[in-house]
Symmetry: C2
């Protein structure tokens, strides 16, 4: 399937991950940051739900099937702390609260797209074994 020579050849063309030995800590920290941000049962669902625009708490709760308010609250808080989601408190009566992706949050689509691509290719490879 794959010779060791092919692998060695390919390594040269890979991105920065292959250089992990040259510049470890910065990259390892970066990967872990990303993994921490998207790990959690509901994180990606929340991000996906906010991709198309601001949403209120109850809107999110309704749009994400099966989530409990406790988990929604908890995950939103983590996403906010991690700088992926912004919590907007409107100065109205009663107060209206909206959640929105930050610029960084939007950029996560790059990671998610890579994950989709890998996932699709892997399913094919995996199934046709």
């Amino acid at each position: 399937m794959y010779s060791n020579k092919d692998k060695a050849k390919e390594m040269k063309d890979l991105g920065c991950f292959s250089e992990v030995k040259q510049c470890p800590t910065r990259y390892v920290l970066a990967v872990n940051d990303t993994l921490n941000v998207i790990s959690g049962k509901w994180k990606l669902s929340i991000i996906a739900s906010l991709i198309h625009g601001k949403k209120r708490f109850k809107e999110l709760e309704r749009s994400i099937e099966g989530i409990t308010p406790r988990m929604l609250s908890k995950e939103l808080k983590e996403l906010e702390i991690n700088g992926v989601v912004k919590r907007l408190v409107h100065n109205t009566r009663p107060v209206l609260i909206e959640y929105e992706l930050t610029e960084s949050g939007y950029r996560l689509t790059d990671v998610i797209d890579a994950m989709i691509q890998w996932g699709l290719a892997h399913r094919q490879a995996y199934m046709s074994e």
Copy 2:
């Protein structure tokens, strides 16, 4: 920082994630596959350690600081089941066992590179708030 118009404009240029409403299940499954494969405290360390070639159990154990044989065994098993790692049993006396990334496993570098890029950019954005 970001207007809604800018966002709308950008959405058109995004990858498939932005089309999640058009083709949900396939993509959602693909993302979850990927997340499941890389989630776990030691998975990425193991993959990183195997990127430069085959390794034996004890070699991995030594190269990954802090891992216990139990976790190494468990995570390797999961990676194997998920088609990311191959377990090679050599027909020698005594048996020599090596672990190696599959083709899919190697391709994970695309995802990991995206994670590194996002992580680095996010650190910058996050710090300079």
